[in-house]
Symmetry: C2
Subunit: 335 residues, 2 copies
């Protein structure tokens, strides 16, 4: 196996994918620091408002070689910046920094990463994908201006797939379809583990709106909140021509939630980040608009109803991971 | 993410899994070399008779720092051993070697790895799983005898899962079930890509015997050879009470192949390495004896017949990988 820029960038990409969709409205970003050939850290941006991937990776790299340094106790992004700027002692000048997205060049909820990198002066910064956000871009120019060697485009396609939800929700709407099934496609009964359920509730906590079919609401009477993670319940869009529902079910009584019953799917575009849950019927209707499918596969064979549908669709697997013992597969429709 | 012994061992394990089942009758083994903190190589044993994982990794590590060295042109295991023994110039004394299986201590088709390591004297050898093969074991003692620091047991469970086919075929029979389906469990028509088909033919080239149901033979009239990779066709075991078959079909006319028609599954135990192909019917019958399921999942949704079965089984996903754009998932039955 080749150990090259792509190898290290892949480590950064995989780490970032662990937090994919959970960083909304920020992009998922991963970062790796290699010092003089030695791999020191692999970190990611985990949640909006928390430190960026670069900050986490620079801090972890410094800690790896100074395990008892005071930085261990500093978590606030601004304070980590400040501390590293003051105490780096040229630690990073023989480092290579691999980052899946061009480091941000503006001060937002957290300070600009390029500003920090400019001071720490790593030998080389390898960037997979340039920043498309005009407000935050210009990072590579800033780095080059202090003679940091900057490479752009390593694993760009994979970085684009990682960045894609951010691109969509920044300029419109990102819609993903979430489904859970057994290995043989059975969708009956309790399929997912508690870990997988908690993950789905974490997703619900992050999204703006959840879309679901009217019959599912009528039959299953789901609450569709984020109680397993004590999270925020999303707005609900019930896709239904028939507007009659039992309004006594808990779904309609979650505080701070808007419920829309409509068969006009264009109304979804009022939201930026949408999860669709259900079997393949809504997928069929929305297939031209679905960006990703998030498929949870429970490692068992079960008799029962099957997800078999009347649709033919081809996908590209853009990433896969584990949620506990279950597989999670991210699919993108092949056009 | 923690960068520790487990991190490097995982790289070795993942590399070895790329050749899982293909190294028969040898075990799949992976090896990583880290020099003074710098990751130099990640290699595996690829095929019986070819160099062991350690030899591939030591060679690749040396080449990484001496890219134009003559060793580049040496591929024979004995000659790589010999060359490294003569020309290492203490290159490896500040190296750590991670290997998924205790280095072999005996000379077989290839020379003993411990013999080589004893000479190269890496600082430390980290072993995931001890050797269970009595003939080849004793490796750790040999290494310790020359004061190499030896650690045993890092990621032992994962190394056991990797080693498991070897353990079974060394002392009895290893049986795996191969299945291909779409995401939604459809098994109709052409599911797999050409790459996946070539992989299945490579498996057929390695196994001793392939078991299949009588009705599949009657209906599909398959040849069940390894023509896509110009490989050796395995013996065939047709599971059927009814012994009447159209003997004119190509399956019965492949040279050097034994075809058994029987409903006595104990006859399978004459073989050491068996692949079962089919839908879930044979899985149901053989479920107590199946060691692994190798499930190829094509990233598409298709209408069509479904693999839905009457059985309930729980699995652990022990590894997953890609064959081109398709996923390959290795499952072990949960007992």
């Amino acid at each position: 196996m080749k150990i090259d820029d792509s190898f290290y960038m892949k480590l950064a990409l995989d780490e970032a994918w662990k937090y994919q969709l959970l960083t909304y409205p920020n992009p998922a970003v991963g970062c790796v620091v290699v010092k003089n050939g030695e791999l020191l850290s692999i970190e990611a941006h985990k949640e909006a408002g928390h430190p960026h991937a670069e900050v986490n990776a620079l801090k972890a790299a410094f800690l790896k070689k100074h395990p008892n340094d005071k930085i261990k106790t500093i978590n606030d992004a601004f304070k980590v910046h400040e501390y590293l700027m003051e105490h780096h002692k040229n630690f990073f000048t023989d480092c290579e920094v691999y980052v899946t997205l061009e480091p941000c060049n503006h001060v937002g909820k957290t300070p600009a990463c390029t500003n920090l990198l400019k001071e720490l002066k790593p030998n080389r910064v390898v960037i997979a994908h340039e920043d498309l956000n005009k407000e935050a871009s210009g990072g590579q120019e800033t780095l080059k201006s202090v003679n940091i060697d900057v490479s752009i485009g390593c694993m760009k396609k994979e970085a684009y797939d990682l960045l894609y939800p951010f691109i969509k929700w920044s300029n419109g709407t990102f819609i993903f379809y979430k489904m859970a099934q057994t290995l043989n496609g059975s969708i009956d009964g309790q399929i997912s583990s508690n870990k997988a359920k908690a993950y789905v509730h974490t997703l619900r906590d992050r999204i703006d709106c959840m879309a679901i079919g009217g019959n599912t609401v009528r039959t299953d009477k789901p609450t569709l909140d984020a109680r397993y993670v004590a999270g925020r319940a999303p707005d609900i869009f019930i896709y239904s021509k028939n507007k009659i529902f039992d309004k006594k079910i808990p779904l309609f009584h979650v505080p701070n939630r808007k419920v829309t019953i409509s068969d006009d799917l264009f109304k979804l575009l009022d939201y930026k980040f949408i999860m669709v849950e259900g079997v393949y019927n809504l997928l069929d209707i929305l297939k031209e608009r679905i960006d990703y499918i998030v498929l949870l596969i429970s490692p068992k064979i079960r008799r029962g109803h099957n997800a078999l549908s009347e649709i033919n669709m081809d996908f590209e697997i853009i990433h896969e991971n584990y949620i506990g013992e279950e597989k999670i597969i991210y699919l993108k429709r092949k056009s």
